[in-house]
Amino acid sequence: MWLLLKGGRIVDPSRGIDEGGDLLIQDGRIVGGHNAPVGEDGRTIDCAGLVVAPGLIDMHVHLREPGYEHKETIATGARAAAAGGFTTILGMPNTKPAIDNRAVVEYVLNEGADADVNVLTTGAATKGNDGAEMAEIGDMVDAGAVAISDDAFPVQNADLMRRVMEYSRMFDVPVLTHCEDTSLTLDAVMNEGVNATILGLRPWPRQAESIMVIRNILLSELTGCPVHIQHVSALESVGEVRWAKNRGIPVTCETCPQYFSLTDAALNTYNSNAKVNPPLRTDADVEAIKAGLADETIDAIATDHAPHSLEDKQVELQYAAFGMVGLETALPLVLTNLVKPNVLSLCDAIAKMTIAPARILGLDSGTLADGAVADVTIFDPDATVTVRADEFKSMGRNTPFDGVELTGKVIATIVAGKVVSSDE
């Protein structure tokens, strides 16, 4: 069985390639060189004018299952991922029950095995995400968890965080941290600044993030554990990570499209779909994020896809859930707000959604190298599309980009040689 992707622009940052050509997939794997397809059973996809890239990897997704199946399931989250060009997604552990032991890790991976894309999972840093007692990290890694995370329930106790890092290092998995000093964010709703002052909403200072970013950087240096800072939103955090990298501390970080596409002005009509954690910041932060992406301080772009039901969002803003969906808008936002204005080259942008997260997580995907499993994304980098939330494959409709016109459209998503989503 073969699939020939003919005449596309092949962008493979893992090998520094951006050139026209064909890509052959035979029996689920990439075949390099100029080999011809073998066998009768196969087809050709005309990729003229399209980009052929390694399948996108989203290292920050909330799949909500088990426990919150009214918001999203592993199957619908994976379908949304496929529609957005992602072939691998990493679920966060804030489910109900939490993904804090072998049984839940196995449940998620079993459900994920039948899903449209590769579903990976993190394990929770602490039991029940309570921030008090370390979870059975060794057992979860043995069951298949690829990283440990305190996402949504940031560990406040520095000594416990130190132990989590020291312990995780033994199993060669990174610790992904949601950096938030919750003593600075009690009941906070939006970024501290003039917009919060005008709207009368409880302010959330950037320092709530950057204080924890520097704490976790220093704990990484202390323990030698690879630490990955999730969803960087604040100017100061970018500077801290830059400092850490110069110092040789094993720290990586991600940002999300909302933090380079929007500012806290998006809340001026009390739009609950613009309420996210960490909150949308200011123009200065957006510029710092872009600079950090351009100079390699920020390694990866993830979505923090956070689906919610309408009931979770159609309430008074201060009671609305935090989060926005992201899987089906991420690539167009990257193309529109980073590639088009030349913040990043197309190759560098794709790197942050493929090989960079693969390396952070120790995956062998994120490449179109000869012999690699054929996870491939084909997209039109110039097509103009209008975001239609009611057409999302995700169960979540909570996006502030509904009705917005963006550049870039996913044409096909291929997982292990099989087309799982197609808009040919």
Partner: protein, 313 residues
């Protein structure tokens, strides 16, 4: 001129012409309050619902009196606590009441933006009677009416707002309304209770009360919420009173004919000395009377012919 809007959510986006219209209308309606029979048939057949998610005596009574004087039918609903914890959602409550034929909602709610939410949820008119720490537009209007009555102008007036600016919806509505009408607004309070980047609003920021009061035409004193002390915004009532309490001696810094205002309820002896509250410069009870007049004016403008959508109905 007519008021071309369905809702009164705040003064931030209100034009000087609109504010002028409301104040003029209020002045003409105020005469009704001094009649022996306080009843006019202007809003007969209109249903007004006061929906209060927070306790309030004066604002609610003021709206209800305004509606009753104008012969509207009123319904009062008090919801204790937040609907998030129990019972019906805010959205469902609004839709249910609208389905019963409510023409205008008066909403008091502890969450900022709740009037915006309501205005997007129902087709009926919405008047914000205070949403969280966002705005309290009718208070801002009645404060301006009181200033106009006493000073015969707003343009160029030096108005000092003293106290907990951060958590005050009254302060925000005063800032927007007064600055739109050409007054010079100063805010003064402990630095912990001045919100971030307040100086990006049209105000002068002060933490020294004596400097703030220099030559002031109006001092608007905010109620200090004693629970703020527990969250560490200031160390003690004693120190607050020493630094920011308004007393007779301090008033000497102000203009000779200064007006002393307070939205109530007052903490006498804390933010305002008793002899100032009852003194010659205080117009605090005038504010209460003007509150009824302003609310009559708004109900009239929104329901009684001032608003196009109602006029055509």
């Amino acid at each position: 001129m007519q008021l071309q809007r369905k809702d009164i959510l705040g003064l931030q986006d209100m034009t000087a012409d609109e504010i002028g219209l409301i104040l003029d209308t209020a002045i003409s309606h105020k005469e009704i309050l001094s009649r022996p029979v306080k009843k006019v048939p202007i809003l007969r057949g209109k249903s007004i619902c006061t929906l209060f998610y927070e306790n309030s005596t004066r604002t609610r009574t003021s709206f209800e009196l305004a509606a009753k004087i104008m012969s509207a039918d009123t319904t009062s609903i008090s919801v204790a606590g937040s609907a998030v914890n129990k019972g019906e959602s805010f959205k469902d409550t609004l839709l249910t009441l609208e389905a019963m034929g409510i023409d205008l909602f008066v909403i008091r709610h502890s969450a900022s933006g709740s009037s915006h939410f309501a205005s997007q949820t129902v087709k009926s008119c919405v008047v914000n009677a205070g949403d969280g720490t966002h705005e309290h537009p009718t208070q801002g209007l009645l404060d301006m009416l009181t200033m106009v009555e006493n000073k015969e102008r707003l343009d160029g007036l030096k108005v000092v707002i003293v106290g907990d600016i951060m958590h005050s919806r009254v302060a925000r509505s005063n800032i927007w309304g007064l600055s739109r009408m050409g007054a010079q607004v100063r805010v003064c309070g402990p630095s912990t209770l001045l919100p971030a980047e307040i100086d990006k609003l049209p105000v002068q920021k002060h933490t020294n009360l004596d400097e703030a009061l220099e030559g002031a035409d109006v001092v608007n004193i905010l109620r200090i919420q004693l629970e703020r002390m527990d969250r560490g915004f200031f160390p003690s009532v004693r120190e607050y009173c020493r630094l920011f309490g308004i007393n007779k001696q301090r008033l000497r810094k102000c203009a000779d004919d200064v007006l002393v205002m307070h939205p109530g309820p007052m903490n006498r002896g804390i933010e305002i000395a008793p002899d100032v509250a009852d003194g010659e410069f205080a117009v605090i009870t005038d504010q209460v009377t003007n509150g009824v007049a302003v609310r009559m004016a708004l109900l009239y403008l929104l329901l009684g012919g001032g608003s196009t959508n109602v006029a055509s109905a």
